[in-house]
Every structure is written in C-alpha cells, then in structure tokens.
Symmetry: C2
Subunit: 329 residues, 2 copies
DNA sequence: CTGAAAGCGCTTACAG
DNA sequence: CTGAAAGCGCTTACAG
C-alpha cells in the first residue's frame, strides 16, 4: 500500500523505466513490442500505478493544468456551463481544468506555490502584480478583461463593451414599449460595481440618443422592502420603465411593484439581465437580456490553445447580446 | 525573462541554495543572520523568484493542495459559500483549495496526472474505483457521502440522512397548516435523482406518521406550463399542500397556481428547499427549508485537517435543517 | 551560522 | 527494440 513508482512497474514487468514510460505515455517515436507493452500495462494495472504529477511536471517543464480564476461575486449557472465547455474543449488537448474562486485580498501567489498551471484563465480582473508574477514564471495568462490586452493594439473596448450593449438593449426595449422616463435598478454589491457602471453607461447612452432624460438610479437590495421603496421613488418621479442590473434585482423590483400596487408592465415596465431559470416563472414573466456564453467559452478555449502553441491571443469575438421578450416589458 | 530558480537567487545574493530555502520557507530550526536574510529576500524580490510547485511537491512528497470535487448538477450559491469557508479555514494551515466540476463520465484519473492533491474532498459521490486509486496514490479522501465511511462503524445514515429530514420538515409544516393530502413536486433532472429520493422518503414517512395518504408525486419542469399541469393534477386529486424538491421547482409550482387560478396558500400550500435569494421575492413569498452549510464547511475543514495530521475522520455532525416560514405555506 | 550533496519520480536524448 | 544515465528544481539531513 506504499506509493507505487514507475520503477516498481519496471521491476514487476522486467523492463527498464524507459520502456515503462514509453508504454504508459504511448510516446510517438518509440516502438515497443506488443508482448512487452502488454506486460507493462498489466503490471501497472495490477500494482495500481499512478504517475506522480509533480515529477512529470518538473521533468517536462510545464503542466497539463489550466487554472480558471473566478471572481469573488456569485457567478450564475451560465458561467459554470461556460467552464464546463472550456473543460471539454481542453480535454481533447489532454489538459485538465481546475477552478479557483478568488478570495478577498489573498493574492494568487499563495496558490501558485501549490500548483504551477500551464495557463491561467481569468474570468475576474487580475491584479497587475499577479499578471507580472505569472508571466515571469512562464505561465500563460488569458483574460476576458482588457488590462491584459497587448499594448499598442487599439482596442475598441469602449464601443464594443458587452456590458454597455446590455444596457443599450434594455433601454431600447423600454423606449420601444413607449416608456418616456427610465429608472435604473442598481445593486449595492460593491463587487460588481464595474459591471453596474458598464451597463448603466449603456442605458444612459441610449437615453441620450433617444432624447429621454437620464435614468433615475436607485440601489435595490434583495430583501422585499427595498424594491417597494424604489418603486415609489420612481413612480413619484414619473418613471415608467426600469432597467435592472440583473434578473434577481429585477425580481426584487417586481416584488416591490406588488407591495406598492403598481401594475407591470402598464404602469412600470421592467427588464432584467441573464435569463436565470426562474425569470420565466415570475409574475409577470420577466423580460430580460441574454448573452451567449457558448461563444465566449469557445473563444477562451482558443486563447488557451493558442497560448499552448505559442501563438498570440486571437481577437475577441463580439459578444452576442439578445433580448428575451416576455410580459414584464 | 527566463525562468528564475532558487539557484539564481542564491547566486545573486551570494549564498547557497540551502540558505535561500531556509529564508524563503522560514524553516523553523534554521537561524539565518538578519543581514543574510535581507539579502536573500531582496534578491528574490528583485528577480521575481517564484518557487516551482512541482519541485516542491516532488521533494516534500506531498502537496499543499486540496481538491474539492463538485457534482455534475448545478450547485447553488450556498455550496459556493461553503467552499469559500473551507478555503479560508485551510488557508490558515497553508493549504490552497481548487475546485473540479465532475464532467459526465470522465474519471478523476485524468485529472490526477495533472495534479496530485494532498486531499480530495468530495461533494459529489465518488466512483469506488476512483477512491481506490486515490487511496493507493496516498491521497486523502474525504466525502460528504457515506460510501467512504469506515466499514464496521454502524452508520445511522438512514435515520440521520439530512435529505430525509428535509422532507420531514416540509411535510410537517404542511400538516401543521391543516393540509390533509400532500403532493410532491419532483424534478425530472436525473442527476439529482438520489436527492429527490431522499427528500421524498422523508415526506412519505411523515405522511405515514401523521396518518395522511402517501404524497402524489408529479415531475415539474422549470418551464411555465409544467407547473400549471401539475397543479391541475393535484387539485383534481384533492391535494392541498405541496412539498417541492427545491425552491426553483416550488417557484414553477407557484407560477402554475397563477395559471390555474389556484390561491396560495389557502387552496394549495407550497414549501421549497434552499432559501435561494429570490425565494422571498416570490408571490406569495416562499416558505422554504434551509440547511446550515457553515457547519458542514467547518466539518469538512476538520476532516481535511485530521487527514493532514494522520488522524481518522471525525464523526459527521448532525446537519441542521430549519424551516423558513413565509406566506406560501 | 552556512554549504556540498543526495534524492524525490519522472522523461528523454543517447547508446547499444 | 531496449536500457543506463542525466537532470528538471527543490528541501533536508549532514558536516563543518
């Protein structure tokens, strides 16, 4: 029951460690006789041999591990699905994906002394110091955020920011429904402040383009009363359409309309973001905005693959943003 | 920009690799002069030295990594919070936590050739072959499921199964509200079949104990219409209280009551499980059952710590299950 | 207080 | 077709 090494397998099958390695890795150039191969495989199975990841990695100089770094804030099922897709695509290249939730201020450094991934994929913004450290250690860095973009490349980031476009789609829907004065239901959660900003910017921009007043922004918590307060504030300001930061916030607004006896969508239309499973179960069913994460997953897989092959990071695809029309707006 | 090793740091600071190691690890017994220490630290910082996780692990014979294996089915924010707590507790022992989502049939083996964790914590049931392989490789195995329990220990599993107790609490609440005939809203998702079984068993048991007929089980999907169909089925069978597999399913039932013009809770009372954030925002606010995962997290951390110290897995604490009373039941 | 040396388990030129 | 040997980067007795 003590640790089995490749030397044990070699001994048990009467060959050298070299041959064991050739067989177990199906090393391309090496041709091993069928009889030998079988003997090695048998011995390995019998002994329950599992190669040492550490030794493998040390010797090869790089690991087969891709680390996916997730943000502090709660990610929805969509992101989980995206990681699953990434894992599938990378499995074909023999790579494994592991996930790390960033925890407050603890730097990535601590983690990197426990594992040396081949590539780190960031779904959360990286600390520049961490990026430097990883690059220095020869770790590939792929990010869905722009701070890692190669300098010099004139990024159209502002114009193409998917967050901004989400806000745009929300506001346009509300305007198309006849809303004349918009409200924005923000979330007080500081961890997503950057996203709130991006989406809100889109709403503001749409309002300006459509000749509407700037949106009246109110923070809405996920308790029942917060939504009702917000609804009253909006109503007394003449707001007739609300874009919410996400579906949960939108659901809080909906709860608020009930408490304040405001009819949706006639007196107040509401649009969410994400299309979480329960959005369609709300009363009334929630109109929302959906982003295709499948394509993002494929893009991330491409980035990792490119980094694997020493190629530059491919251009980011335009993220699809789509309205899911239901009854609430 | 090439890889910096401890030898580079030694050279740059004019000491041996031994001393570098002592300083960087603050090795207990080793006393290094302050001047030397400073020089080493400076050089390491200047060169951007990061130790090789692979070499460390190979040399020490064990890694500082704890792998948390998550099930295939979507885990809620509660489980994420639990992992965060686990990571916090283990960080104090210098361990890092990484998460792996099991992917269909792919065995853990593939992953274990990329990393050799110190311990694997299973929040999903393990394949017995995987457990054998891990044990064989000297990896600690901790599971929230019972198949890993030490044989011989007479587990009170059936009696103490938290899933069963969830069902119990749901049914008892409905009965206390005056419901005379219960329905059960199951989910068709095969990945959680075992949980459905456990919770449903609790409901059945409570019905028997209370002298009620066995619950009428109906699968409810997360689309709008499925809930309405179920509600009609229940009503025509005289069901006046429904225990749902979880809050999302309960929300689908609630949507169904609206479509079928059935009043909640008077004509049909509904109880969910999980207390997801939007449960309190439903119409009417959803009565649900909540389980304390904080305690579970602490327990898992203890298990890992025990495994670290070569101690046996401590006894599993009784999982707290608590009713969150709201308007729906 | 500091250094020379061994060895963790693997893979891979290199030689037969 | 197969094996002896080097070496990946680290830590840790051991000797000074």
């Amino acid at each position: 029951m003590t640790k089995v090494t490749s030397a044990d397998v070699a001994r048990a099958s009467g060959v050298s460690r070299t041959t064991v390695s050739y067989v177990l890795n199906s090393t391309p150039g090496a041709s091993v006789s069928d009889a030998t191969r079988r003997r090695v495989l048998d011995a390995a199975a019998r002994l329950g041999y599992a190669p040492s990841a550490a030794a493998r990695t040390l010797r090869r100089g790089r690991s087969d591990l891709v680390l996916c770094v997730l943000p502090d804030w709660p990610v929805g099922p969509a992101v989980e699905a995206m990681i699953d897709r990434l894992a599938d695509e990378l499995a074909e290249r023999g790579m494994s994906v592991l996930v790390h939730h960033v925890r407050g201020e603890r730097p990535l450094t601590d983690l990197l002394r426990a594992v040396t991934p081949h590539t780190v994929v960031g779904l959360a913004p990286f600390d520049p110091a961490d990026v430097r450290a990883m690059r220095q250690a020869g770790i590939g860095v792929v990010s869905t955020f722009d701070e890692v973009a190669d300098a010099g490349e004139p990024t159209d980031a502002a114009a193409d920011d998917p967050q901004r476009r989400i806000g745009l789609v929300q506001a346009e829907r509300l305007a198309a429904r006849g809303c004349r004065r918009l409200g924005y239901a923000a979330t007080p959660d500081p961890r997503v402040a950057a996203f709130v900003e991006g989406r809100l910017a889109g709403v503001r921009e749409a309002c300006a383009a459509l000749g509407l007043a700037a949106p009246l922004v109110v923070d809405v918590g996920l308790d029942g009363s917060s939504g009702a307060d917000a609804v009253r504030t909006w109503r007394s300001a003449g707001v007739d359409g609300v874009a919410a930061y996400n579906d949960e916030v939108a659901l809080a607004v909906l709860a608020g309309t009930r408490a304040a006896s405001v009819t949706v969508p006639d007196a107040l239309a509401v649009v969410g973001v994400d299309d979480i499973p329960v959005a369609s179960l709300a009363s009334p069913p929630l109109t929302t905005v959906w982003q295709s994460l499948d394509r993002q997953a494929a893009y991330l897989a491409e980035c990792v693959t490119a980094s694997l092959d020493g190629l530059p990071q491919p251009p980011r695809p335009r993220q699809e943003v789509e309205l899911v029309p239901r009854a609430s707006a």
